[in-house]
């Protein structure tokens, strides 16, 4: 297998896994339907890009206009991307999460996602508008030659390290008392607040944590593909991640990872194998350009609806958490149905 192909596959897989873990913390564990998730990934990517790029007056970069251009050394752009995702979460969470009913939160976030994309597309001086940023420097490209095989391994290693880090943080959160409060809030917000949990504070916290991780995923991606434009973070990209979390299994990190491998990564790989022409017994059909991607989106929609109908808990359901001294779940069910 070609090293570049492998690097491409594995880095995308790592980015999708990190994004799905973050979305799972918000959607699966806490019940926040964050339809603007991709905006936080984009914020991280843009931040990492302008932190690592030279100023837009530098030679070779003067065909684009953007703010910043700080040329910071490697780990700083990634950290900056994560911080940018977290910082953006604060005003958005402040507007959306405080008073609104949960289904309104979802549509408000969806609208935010569409509008943010419109603004960045039209406001060229800020982040080069629709054309986006190009020639984003790769991490440590002055140390290791980016076109060498060893750089590909290096990048795979960096991404894998980030996955491990994010997995560690996420599982600490899920298994902590904080995680229990989040799940209590998700399952019954009124009961959780009656027990003294502040749902707005809990939601804000996990929204910011999710934003930080999303920002990191964007920083990793932009360091690899070296460009970032509004067309790569349209709102349907968020729906792919939702499909992944729903298919994999809401509320558990393993399900999120499984979903990331099955949906975004799996879909990309399967369609790569599709031929450009279909031979139906002498009748050769050439699909028109754009047909396969369109059908891919239809399949994502079907996947979401199919799983919500037939298996809402996903491929790997959230494990039932039973504590010592608690009544047998089967008895509890009997009592409640009686």
């Amino acid at each position: 297998m070609n090293t570049y192909y492998a690097a491409n596959l594995l880095v995308y897989a790592a980015v999708d896994i990190i994004a799905c873990i973050a979305l799972n913390l918000q959607f699966g564990v806490s019940g926040i339907v964050n339809f603007s998730f991709i905006v936080f990934q984009a914020a991280g990517a843009y931040a990492a890009a302008v932190l690592s790029m030279p100023p837009d007056t530098a030679s070779g970069y003067d065909f684009q206009i953007y703010v910043g251009g700080f040329q910071l050394p490697f780990p700083l752009p990634w950290i900056g991307g994560a911080i940018a995702g977290g910082l953006l979460s604060i005003p958005v969470g402040f507007v959306v999460l405080r008073k609104l009913r949960s289904d309104y939160q979802a549509i408000a976030l969806l609208v935010t996602s569409i509008i943010a994309n419109t603004v960045i597309t039209n406001a060229r001086p800020f982040l080069n508008g629709a054309a986006g940023l190009a020639l984003v420097p790769q991490p440590l490209q002055d140390q290791i030659d980016p076109v060498s095989d060893s750089y590909q391994y290096f990048y795979i290693g960096l991404s894998a390290l980030s996955v491990v880090l994010v997995w560690f943080v996420a599982s600490r959160i899920v298994n902590s008392p904080f995680g229990r409060s989040l799940r209590a809030m998700r399952d019954n917000e009124v009961a959780a607040s009656a027990l003294g949990k502040n749902p707005v504070a809990l939601k804000m916290m996990i929204f910011i944590v999710g934003g930080v991780i999303a920002g990191l995923s964007g920083a990793i991606l932009v360091g690899f593909i070296q460009l970032w434009a509004p067309s790569v973070w349209l709102y349907p990209e968020t729906i792919i991640l939702f499909a992944a979390v729903i298919v994999g299994g809401r509320g558990n990190n393993l399900g999120a990872v499984l979903g990331a491998l099955l949906v975004p990564v799996g879909f990309e790989e399967v369609t790569r194998l599709l031929p450009n022409q279909f031979d139906l017994g002498g009748l050769v059909i050439t699909p028109q350009v754009g047909l396969i991607p369109a059908l891919q989106w239809v399949a994502i929609g079907l996947l979401i609806i199919g799983f919500l109908w037939f298996r809402p808990e996903g491929v790997r359901p959230e494990p039932r958490r039973v504590f010592e001294g608690s009544p047998d779940p089967s008895e509890v069910e009997l009592v409640s149905t009686a």
Partner: protein, 294 residues
């Protein structure tokens, strides 16, 4: 000054277009408890139905009726085949939002291969120019305004003075109580999907007629303006949506005159954010967005 007078004229047209879309959207939500995020895509599909009829040489005003019928049937089937089974299964409101977003994505991408990415426009002369008190409008724009006024009055009459309207209001207020009082709520919901679907189709054709050209990608923009007007007025409140449409129509056109037309949707969004921070229940509703999700 004349720039703002002209903008006011466009504002009248714009509020008519938005009102047609927003009232149907908000009635769907108020009576069937369904935030139908596929609304914008049904609008654009109906606009394309009217486009193909128009291209065959039929007047767009006839095409508009076909668009409305298509919207009604499409929305009815959407509810019967997808939404209603999920609601009966006991899917939460949040789950329904996800389902409707998935449906919206599917409609847009089933439409794309059929009609392609290219922008199209109706073959229709925009009519002669008419001047009134510094406001210049085409006959088509005046017809759009008249159409919106007639439809709004019809909805008012329907909700206020007919048995069906009463049954709708009862179903919106408390479906279980309404059923216990002998109202066939399932039939009411079916009729609501037909009526709001027709409004949706009509709004799609009118919105497409009012813009120079349209493409599948416009569906999201249609949805946002309908959403903004509906939320501003208080979701589920038809009269609120009308008021919301008036405000958003005027403000977006005036801002387009003063600033830049590319930010029309952004201005609508700004209004939406202000409402969500300052008065999340909207202008008219008492509970609205503040009530706990069931």
């Amino acid at each position: 000054m004349s720039l703002f007078q002209a903008a006011f004229g466009f504002g009248l047209v714009s509020m008519s277009v938005i009102a047609l879309g927003a009232v149907g959207f908000t009635m769907q939500f108020g009576i069937t408890n369904m935030i139908n995020l596929a609304y914008g895509e049904v609008m654009i599909s109906s606009a394309y139905v009217a486009y193909y009829i128009n291209r065959a040489g039929v007047s767009i005003w006839i095409g508009m009726i076909a668009g409305a019928i298509f919207g009604a049937v499409f929305s009815f089937l959407l509810n019967r085949i997808v939404y209603s089974p999920f609601q009966r299964k006991g899917t939460s409101l949040l789950g329904m939002v996800i389902v409707s977003l998935a449906v919206s994505l599917m409609i847009a991408n089933l439409l794309l291969p059929l009609v392609t990415y290219n922008s199209v426009s109706y073959q229709e002369t925009s009519g002669s120019l008419i001047r009134m008190a510094g406001v210049i409008l085409t006959t088509n724009q005046i017809l759009i305004i008249l159409l919106a006024v007639v439809v709004m009055l019809a909805i008012h009459g329907l909700l206020r003075y007919t048995r069906l309207g009463k049954a709708m209001r009862a179903t919106a207020a408390n479906p279980i109580l309404a059923r216990n009082c002998g109202i066939a709520t399932q039939r009411v919901v079916d009729v609501v999907w037909l009526i709001t679907g027709a409004l949706c189709g009509l709004a799609g054709v009118v919105a497409a007629l009012n813009s120079d050209s349209f493409a599948v990608a416009n569906g999201a923009g249609f949805l946002i303006t309908a959403l903004a007007a509906a939320v501003l007025g208080g979701a589920g409140q038809p009269y609120g949506a009308m008021i919301g449409a008036v405000i958003i129509g005027l403000v977006t056109e005036l801002s387009a005159a003063a600033w830049s037309p590319e930010y029309k949707e952004v201005v609508a969004f700004g209004i939406l954010v202000l409402v969500m921070v300052l008065r999340p229940q909207g202008l008219l509703a008492k509970r609205g967005a503040l009530a706990a999700a069931g």
